[in-house]
């Protein structure tokens, strides 16, 4: 009996050389490297606040804009963008909150994770580059339940494994994590047309490329949409958004839309819309909308100007459709910016 006890104790004593858990220092670094929603949130005046600590967006998705309210239209466009990007980042946050399936020095892999409801398999990977400051990530999707086994380790963001598609990828360079991290600059690409293959939907665009920089309390976002579906056509679009630390900022939306669908001779041709705006610390600002092409007569442009008052009312203080028919409303001198301040470079 004594011998059995001693042997068992000795075996357990020597066998106890392993541990398990997630008490990881590097996990915290990877978590800091996940781009936060505020880094890519487009927030023109009146958009509300982004919760810095989480991924909830205090922003109405359904906004009814008065006719010609450019600020409101900008807010609606921003809401659309934010809904998309926030959804992606929420998914990444949710995955990264799980214990990594594979934890290697400078590399974390989650999955493959099978979603039985969607009958899809996900795999998320983050890698810390040799420069120590760049983190890359990619989200793979596959239809059905896919097991990778040992190949799971070999699959990286550049791989195109049969059945797996890289649908969301990017890189992020956090600023010094001493200030709380989750700030920095980076790029992301969302392969919208690939996603549509899984759910059978029509892709709203081919790809979306985000470039963002939210270091030093300011936010600079540039989005290029390639092959955006507008009606029966595909057009590219671009969005620029800058917001300074004091809350002032600018945006420029360069998009195509069937803006004029009513009138004497409406067609389904797409109008080219450039919507630019600038606002000050109090959120009062001026917007300029320029529309051409489409149903706009060749050689003509439709220009709309709007000025609005400071938050929280955002009352329109000046409005004008620049033509000879409609008289301006309000006082242009009350605008906080001049027309030149919001005119985009051609």
């Amino acid at each position: 009996m004594l011998r059995v006890v001693v042997v068992a104790a000795l075996g357990a004593w020597l066998g106890g050389l392993v541990g398990c858990g997630d008490l990881s220092e590097e996990d915290l670094l990877f978590r800091a490297a996940v781009p936060p929603k505020e880094a890519v949130a487009v927030t023109p005046p009146g958009s509300g606040d982004i919760d810095e600590g989480g991924n909830s967006l205090v922003q109405g998705l359904i906004v009814v804009c008065a006719e010609g309210d450019l600020r409101c239209e900008a807010q609606k466009i921003a809401t659309g963008f934010n809904t998309l990007t926030f959804g992606l980042l929420d998914a990444i946050d949710a995955v990264a909150a799980l214990t990594p399936t594979i934890r290697e020095r400078g590399r974390r892999i989650w999955g493959p994770i099978y979603d039985a409801q969607k009958d899809q398999t996900f795999r998320f990977e983050m890698v810390r580059a040799d420069d120590d400051v760049t983190f890359t990530f990619c989200l793979f999707m596959a239809q059905g339940q896919v097991e990778l086994g040992e190949r799971n380790r070999e699959l990286n963001c550049d791989s195109l494994e049969p059945g797996f598609l890289n649908v969301f990828s990017g890189s992020f360079q956090p600023s010094s994590i001493e200030d709380g991290a989750r700030r920095g600059q980076g790029t992301m690409r969302f392969e919208a047309d690939r996603v549509s293959r899984f759910d059978g939907s029509s892709p709203f665009a081919r790809t979306l490329d985000f470039a963002f920089d939210n270091q030093q309390e300011r936010t600079d976002i540039h989005v290029d949409v390639v092959g955006a579906s507008v009606g029966d056509e595909e057009r590219d679009a671009a969005y620029d958004f800058e917001r300074e630390a004091d809350g002032s900022g600018t945006f420029l939306f360069d998009v195509f839309a069937d803006l004029i669908s009513q009138g004497l001779l409406p067609t389904r041709r797409l109008e080219h819309i450039r919507l630019s705006a600038r606002w000050n610390v109090e959120q009062g600002g001026r917007a300029l909308g320029v529309v051409d092409d489409g149903d706009i007569a060749i050689g003509s442009v439709l220009t709309v100007e709007q000025c609005w008052a400071a938050a929280p009312e955002f009352e329109t203080s000046y409005f004008d459709v620049v033509d000879d028919v409609v008289q301006p409303v309000g006082d242009a001198d009350a605008c906080v910016f001049a027309v030149a301040d919001v005119t985009p470079a051609s």
Binding site: L14, G16, L17, G19, G21, L23
Partner: protein, 551 residues
Amino acid sequence: MTRALPLLFTIGALLLAPGEVLAATAHVQRFALLIAAHDGGKELPRLRYAGRDATRLADVLVDVGGFERADILSVVDGDASVVLDLFDELEQRVQQAKARGDDVVVVAYYSGHAQDGRLRLGQTTLEMSELRRRLETSSADVRLGFLDSCGAGAITQGKGATLAAPFVVRVDEDLSAKGQVIIASSSSDEVSQESDDIQGSFFTHYLASGLRGDADRSRDGRVTLDEAYAYAYGRTVAATSATRAGAQHPTYAFELKGAGDVVLTNPGDAFVTVEFPEVLEGRYFVVDLERQLFVAEVEKQKGGASRIALPKGQYAVKKRLDSHLLITRVQGLQKGTIVIDDATMERVAFNNDYAKGTPISVSASLDREIGFSLAGGVGLQQVLGPVDDGGLFPTMPLFVLDARAHHLLRSQLTLDVDLGFGSVQAVRTVDGGALGSVDFSVQASEVQGGVAVLWEQPLRELLGSDVVVGAGPRMAGLFFVHEFNGATRPQGLTQQSYLTFTPGIAAFVAWSPWDFAHLEVSARAQYLAYNVDELRHMAVLEGFASVWLDL
């Protein structure tokens, strides 16, 4: 002629010699040859107390048996040729004494392994028949042989498992004309056992105790061969009945002619006599304090006084009660009789017993094994690793609950089960390399549990109480939890945890100022394999102070 009732071979059977060995008009010369062999060959376990048995018997013979130290020949771990040479020398001395007209008594004693009718003397053997022949052909008037041995492979310190021929030598059929008695420690199908408690063999232990006086049933101050055998038989059977090897029954073979009994010792003439008066009852143990050796055991019954003889020295006499010991010091520096009185004995806790080495008897030893202790304590934990862990394992105050089962597996082995809790507000500093570092505020908590097997060893007296040290291996499970709080809480993460099972060691120093409780300072060291980010070999060091309740 074995397994006979011990009394049968005495009265009436002893016709010739020396009952009056000590009282006869002729001078009686006594010689002894004591042989001890720890090693019985490769296939047999090494005995631990054969030499001590021989020494104990030699002391008795000198102290109360009328032997001169110079007349005792002894050999420890000698081979067969050495033993035979000593027999030759013994016979020479006997013949010289006989030439002087002395009556001669010879005692031959063997403690060691025996197997298949042979004494196992290291790598050599000696036929028992040769031993018998040497005794038979001796010129001595009375020849006494004591053989404390058996076969090999005892389970619990037994002197062998393979049964040898009965206790010894068959002398009945062709007895020599002069008297000869041979007493064996066990029968033919039994093993003779050693005991760590008494640090010797049961048989020799009780034989020696009896010769010192406890076997003197007649209260005449003399211990005869009959009394000694009866005593050793009864006590050996009783003591070994609870061992795993089973009861051990001493046997004998004799052929003596003459009248009277053989007186082996004269305790009444000893330098110091310790008397246990009629009113006393119970089991008493006598310990030589200078040598910290057990000397004698007295099982006292009401109605008659007992006496044991001791040489000059300092002793402790103690008596075990259910909950404590009674103990008294005996200064045997002047010739005389010292009377033991329970009322004047000091009452001490078992842990405070300053006279170690005393057999408590098997049954009492079993009682002692059922000992439990409970403790509560506080301490500190420090985790050391090859690199700065940035507060991954912060210094942690710990509260512990501890339970021990003493002597559970065997004597001096204690099973220890502990449970610990700790929590501390700490800062985790994560080094981001070129990104700098960031501090995370965490509430670091830990729950741990462990099982240890500790070897306990009394160390020395301190402030009138015992100091006991102990150490042994420990297996522990450690569970660490970090709950993030503060401004730098990581996104979407509330806590991290780590569970590991680790081997280690534990040690303690205990001090017993009270009967019911003791104080203890302990230390533990555990190996910690951290393998989340990378494999790091770390050490968990802990120190505690605790108060123990001894149940």
